[in-house]
Symmetry: C2
Subunit: 322 residues, 2 copies
């Protein structure tokens, strides 16, 4: 995990955040405790909390408020994953069993709610109404995105604009909120809040595009899910949209989407069609464009190790796709 050295400047504070997150998993019932600890330990690299801390580093850095905020953002993310996996009926995440495949669906609904509740309660510890407002609206945006995705699942001929709107809601909104609220809590001036918010948005867009590319080119063992999962679930992402722009009548895609054929062979052929198109190169270029835009936002910030870390994170995001 050498790439995570980019988080060095905030490593010790991240440990405080981790302790706060793990505290949420300490409850009265050992069965529930086991489930919570499974969920709280199988999630990613704590990029979002790190972004909160890094974004706050340019001004007054009060850990008493910042640590609960960083934990709240990660818990909100975790809560949405728990419910998403349930909604999508995904058996695994990062190669480990999802919560609903370890227990029943009812418990999974409530554990997700419990994580939402803890996120909300931790966020109020910031005692900052603006931060809470941004947080509340982001939760709404994410839910709207999820619902939109369900209600448009049948419409596979989506435009790039549809796609960008979707990934903004699903992914970029929370990453934007991480940097924006970190900056707000540090008392940064408005133009720096704007810059860090915009950094987060663009980073989040790059992040999701790369994730969607990895669904075509990724290493299954590393990702913990089979290549082509999106196509199999009827989810159209940027490489597919690009192929459709080039070849609206592509037979492999029509077989999957119009005929609803999600056999291994049909998916394999659709993946091959995307690979033959400019879709993946195009998506890579778009990810690079967003990552570059993210870094440009940092121009006005002082050249600290934290700024360097924010720049490196955007490189790290792009590195995943190669």
């Amino acid at each position: 995990m050498a790439a995570l050295s980019v988080l060095d400047p905030v490593q010790s504070d991240l440990e405080l955040v981790e302790a706060e997150i793990q505290r949420v998993g300490q409850v009265e019932y050992s069965f529930l405790e086991n489930l919570l600890q499974h969920v709280l330990s199988t999630q990613g690299k704590r990029i979002r909390p790190a972004l909160v801390l890094l974004a706050a580093s340019f001004h007054q850095y009060r850990l008493q408020f910042l640590v609960p905020l960083a934990a709240a953002i990660e818990l909100l993310h975790t809560a949405t994953l728990v419910h998403d996996d349930l909604v999508d009926n995904s058996p695994t995440r990062r190669g480990k069993p999802t919560l609903h495949s370890l227990t029943d669906r009812a418990v999974t609904v409530l554990v997700g709610d419990y994580l939402f509740a803890n996120a909300a309660a931790l966020c109020t510890e910031t005692q900052n109404t603006r931060v809470m407002q941004v947080f509340g609206r982001t939760l709404m945006t994410i839910c709207e995105g999820e619902l939109k995705q369900i209600f448009t699942a049948g419409f596979w001929r989506q435009s790039r604009e549809d796609y960008y709107q979707k990934i903004e809601r699903k992914t970029a909104s929370l990453i934007r909120t991480a940097t924006e609220t970190g900056a707000i809590l540090s008392g940064a001036p408005e133009e720096q809040i704007d810059a860090l918010r915009s950094y987060g948005y663009n980073l989040g867009m790059a992040f999701q595009i790369v994730d969607d590319i990895l669904d075509f080119v990724g290493n299954e063992a590393l990702m913990g899910k089979p290549v082509g999962s999106d196509l199999r679930q009827g989810t159209v992402t940027l490489p597919t949209i690009r192929l459709l722009e080039e070849d609206p009548d592509n037979s492999a895609l029509r077989r999957v989407f119009d005929d609803g054929d999600s056999s291994d062979e049909a998916i394999r052929e659709a993946i091959a069609a995307v690979h033959r198109s400019s879709g993946i190169d195009y998506a890579r270029a778009e990810a690079r464009r967003f990552a570059d835009l993210a870094v440009q936002q940092l121009d006005s910030l002082p050249p600290t190790p934290e700024r360097a870390a924010l720049e490196s994170i955007s490189e790290y995001v792009l590195d995943r796709m190669t």
Copy 2:
């Protein structure tokens, strides 16, 4: 619905709250809009928003903050009902189909989340960190209660203390939050906030005990669910606990709980056993005790129409059980 005349002093403000609640149901997708409107229109009498408004009436009454708070409390309540009905797999609520029986479970999870999100976002419109803190903790308390209920579902020999703790989390905590946050937002002095908070807690306890009594004596058509639903679901409430105190080896209860027999005949016999015991009278006396305690908290408040309304609400809660 003559009983609702108790809400007269806040009727016009309640209409603003209702408009705010209905706004949440106005979304882009007509299918989702239909589901949201079904959920937002089949819920109860808006007692919780009325309590927010009444509790705020003794001081400065700023509708700009109070209306979003009252709507947030009702939406939080609605969100928990949507997920509870899903978790309990209940086909109807108040005689109308529950959301998950109209659509699929995945959409129901997300609609509940969406209502939570809207509740959280509306709550931040109060711009009052203390109110948001109380709100966030209450959401946590409710979720903890739901999870506890699931994880103790097998243990039917519960004590009165277990029961009181359970209904505090499940019901009284949100009603307490309605009056407490209303009072906070009005700028009431601490002792009045305490009094109104305590009023809400005691009212909520009475409310849930009455609800649990109605499951033994209620009119099925009026309640929209069959008598004995709690026993059928393995839920032990105060009348049953009282019977168990009198007769720990009661064969009708052992048949339902130890043998897991939820046939109509077994449930009918268990209901009859509860009726033969002092359980229902005891629960009625307890409901009266809590309702009286609620009213006593109001002693220090000026004798306004709003205080009279708060007193009447506690009578209205008791009237339901006769």
